[in-house]
Subunit: 318 residues, 4 copies
């Protein structure tokens, strides 16, 4: 099933999918199905697989491609972006071709740690684009908190000018609001393409980013329907309503961005919501204490009360 | 004016004070006065000076002590804790004695980068306690995101058991909720002292931390009256009300925790609220763009609307 | 061909093998053969494959196992240790079993970045040993410069006491001489096993480490015959002669330990010495400028003059 | 006593001076005198004070300036460079003015951690030069292993082109040989100034760097007479003799570059050579075990035997 290739017009919510495992630690392909259905039910516009939050680094090559195939087969034509970051360029190339053959819409590449200087960064991506060829759409994942590689706006602009296959910025620098604005302002220069910008960082600054020109979100918050509705309210020109809705979920957005424990919280919520059969992470992974779970109970109860009070989204939070 | 020494019973809000500068970059002692008055007007229970957010590393030794003296002289008997972290132990000792001579209630010490292993960490603090002697109360600042030094609970417990002058944990590990719970559970062991725990991280998880046994906050949020009222509501046994109030401010709490730009936002709010004469940071520092300021306008307008809707705190946010 | 399993008696030089590629970047299995023969000709006592210097992170899973098989098939019964460090425990388990099935003598595991505290480190290895079972000999690779994880001696000792399958320490902390001595002194405690210690860090402190109780070297210096002869001179009780020989090569040992460029230098020497058909690294990799090569010419000429002057090893350096 | 200001013609050995303390940890000004005399006796061409190896970060402001004054007063007209790196620009300015008032020839500035991108780096130094004004000669300390800030050659060239007061590169990137060559090649461009380059990294690659165009060394090796003689042999056009001499000392050069323990070794040698009254470092500092000292005995004995065999420098090593 073809969903077309990713391009600069991409917008909406590309959910970063968790990877479900059985309690014994095997990839749970049935839960991949139910999770995909769950995301579709939340109205997501696309998927991002094998990102940093997807425990991709704990999968074998075979497992990775089987997850990609499974989601693409069930995604009802939604675009699927596949993370292909790797220490070796040959592996980036190979993974990208495998993903595109499986029907992916594009690939996402973060810079490897250790790149030096603006030229070092530009040259790395130039190598990547040369290796992939002109026909594979690429997302630049800008996540320096993990990679240690800072992306200056002028380097990003040079890459956009020189490589038409670079169609999206996954924006999650911190602080990054000023960078987002600078990219959008730079695009007003005659001849420069406007690329798609989807935002990450768990969605912590989602309304601010939308107001500054983001096209949507690419993150893994466990109530994706909020991400979708906020996007849609912005699309309808209702930013204040969008932010009102977002703020109701903000305590949980913030709770999920905790390093290390965040994924455990997300999987626990997905489990409680029936999307996956087990909240298990592959070892070594984090897990929740009884106190953590009681705390989560309380936070969800607060969320539900507030949603009920506004009359919005009450069912979705069940 | 004596405020007594810091001890394990410390609780409430110890505000991390910004250091005000003139537009030319000089320490602005008149603004130190007005800022101190502002904090007192917000109801803070104590002060923490020369912390990481106080631009202490950009002050000369003389400037540092003049700020300490100025605040202590105006603090109406509230306790003042002074940050004395330094690469050299002799300087930790010297700064501590200067601070205590000036009337400080205690000192705060973060571990220097590069300590290795549990023993390396224990031994460093053992050296600090030996250098300071038994009469200077010490706060352990647990902020591994900046220091790179992780504090295991069992090392903290050994320090508490061995050094009675260790009276407080400044808790800002991330994720840190489980650690806080573990410290509190460990204190149930017969013979172990219960220490004071004040929380940092910009207050991002303040209600969760209070529910887990924190005694208050030590952070620099620009609406300290919220920190105080949340504390008081918890003290009155009203955690849900406390969290309701907190959640109204959460969008701004989150906005201020942005790395690098956070301090610029805080100083801008303190400036707007009349607490300081200039939002200027000492170079090299961050500053706000016109877009950043318009965004802040909007966020404050949203805050005020929501406070007005609840009828709470409306005046304090002016 | 069985070479037996690795145990605490292992000694000598376990060369860290480079991975040869064709100029086009494919794994060059014929050069794997000639390189293996070259190492055997230098008298190495064993091999270590897929270490950090072996560009293992740029190989596919299939390529990795094909290199392991090829070397084991040609190693004339010398023991082969295979690096199996991986972010996911399941992959550590899987790679270990594949390696042992292929005839490896043992596996080498470095801690993943991000482990916290002594307990976090102990628990990680406890999980590894549980996953591998009691029958796979394990080498602890202690290389904190890359992993960021410091190994305290008492944690290593607890692991040795609790897990008989931990048989070797790959020692390359920096500074690490005192640690080596401390491990050896700790082993005098009744009941503690004496493990094998092979040293890395490019061999930069090899004689000092041998004098302190190391059992040999595990590194990739491009004149392995020096590593072997130094080992043998120590074995014969001639430390001063050993160090005299080492010092002749020290300028090149030091030259090869340069970060980033070191591997390019090693592969260039192996290429010049006829051990591999191309000095090519897989992208992204470092390469030598014309100036670098001229400089290397000069350094090798100096080495040969000095070897000729002593009458030693003259042929081996050809 | 005026030694003139530092300029692009600076060459030779600018020794990085240790800071001597008494066994009780006080600055030992008498040892500052004897150490200065010792360095002068070794023939050094200049001094660098308050560098990273000088425990500058453990001194108070008053102690720092007293050491600077003491050395300048006794340096017999040799140029003195003072390290003034500081988190706050105002402190960089203040320290620089104090140093120049005391008679320093110039100041050395390393970038603060956290600068982002080529522009961030350029802008920081532009701020520094603006703050210092055109009359204070500046050395760029390029030591990314500690600062985390990489200096691209083109950024350095822009700084050289735009700020005439930038007269020297303290070269200690790793690997850095190719960078040194690139700077020298770039200087052939019409209109670009040739700056002085002195090399650090403990001198580990000193002959290679001299062959590539360095003007001398700025490091703290405990046998400075070797650094001086190697410089002079290069100046006389005898690079092979220079490197022969260097290689005799290389085992100890390498021994001293060990992180953490290196300074303890240096101070021990300076103490043994009578240059300072105590090898004490200020806490927290490293110290030598009995094994470390015995090892050092052996290494010095080897050095002396080899020097005796060549008839060179025998007295200097006493």
């Amino acid at each position: 099933m073809s969903s077309g290739k990713l391009n600069e017009q991409a917008k909406g919510v590309y959910i970063i999918a968790a990877t479900p495992f059985t309690d014994e630690g095997a990839v749970d392909l049935q839960s991949v199905d139910t999770l995909t259905d769950f995301y579709l039910g939340c109205g997501v516009h696309g998927f991002t697989l094998l990102g940093m939050m997807g425990e991709a680094h704990k999968l074998t090559a075979d497992e990775s491609i089987s997850v990609v195939n499974r989601v693409i087969g069930r995604a009802q034509g939604r675009q699927v972006i596949v993370g292909v970051s790797h220490a070796g360029l040959e592996n980036v190339r190979r993974l990208s071709h495998e993903a595109m053959m499986a029907g992916a819409a594009g690939v996402m590449v973060a810079p490897p740690p250790g790149l030096k200087g603006d030229e070092g960064l530009y040259n790395y991506y130039a190598q990547v684009f040369a290796a992939l060829g002109p026909h594979i759409p690429v997302v630049y994942q800008d996540y320096p908190q993990t990679t240690g590689v800072y992306l200056p706006v002028n380097v990003f602009e040079r890459l956009v000018d020189d490589f038409p296959q670079l169609v999206m910025l996954k924006h999650e620098d911190a602080p990054g609001l000023a960078k987002l604005t600078k990219v959008r302002e730079g695009e007003k220069k005659p001849g420069r393409r406007r690329v798609s910008i989807l935002v990450g960082n768990g969605g912590l600054y989602y309304p601010q980013e939308m107001r500054r020109g983001a096209d949507g979100a690419m993150t893994g918050f466990a109530w994706p329907e909020m991400l979708v509705q906020v996007y849609e309210l912005f699309a309808k020109g209702k930013p204040e309503e969008a932010e009102d809705l977002f703020d109701i979920f903000l305590p949980l957005v913030r709770h999920e961005v905790q390093p290390a424990i965040g994924l455990a919280l997300r999987k626990e919520v997905l489990f409680r919501r029936g999307a996956i059969k087990s909240p298990k992470q592959r070892a070594p992974g984090s897990s929740l204490t009884a106190t953590d779970k009681t705390e989560l109970d309380g936070m969800i109860a607060r969320l539900e009360r507030r949603l009920a009070a506004t009359g919005r989204l009450a069912k979705a939070a069940e």
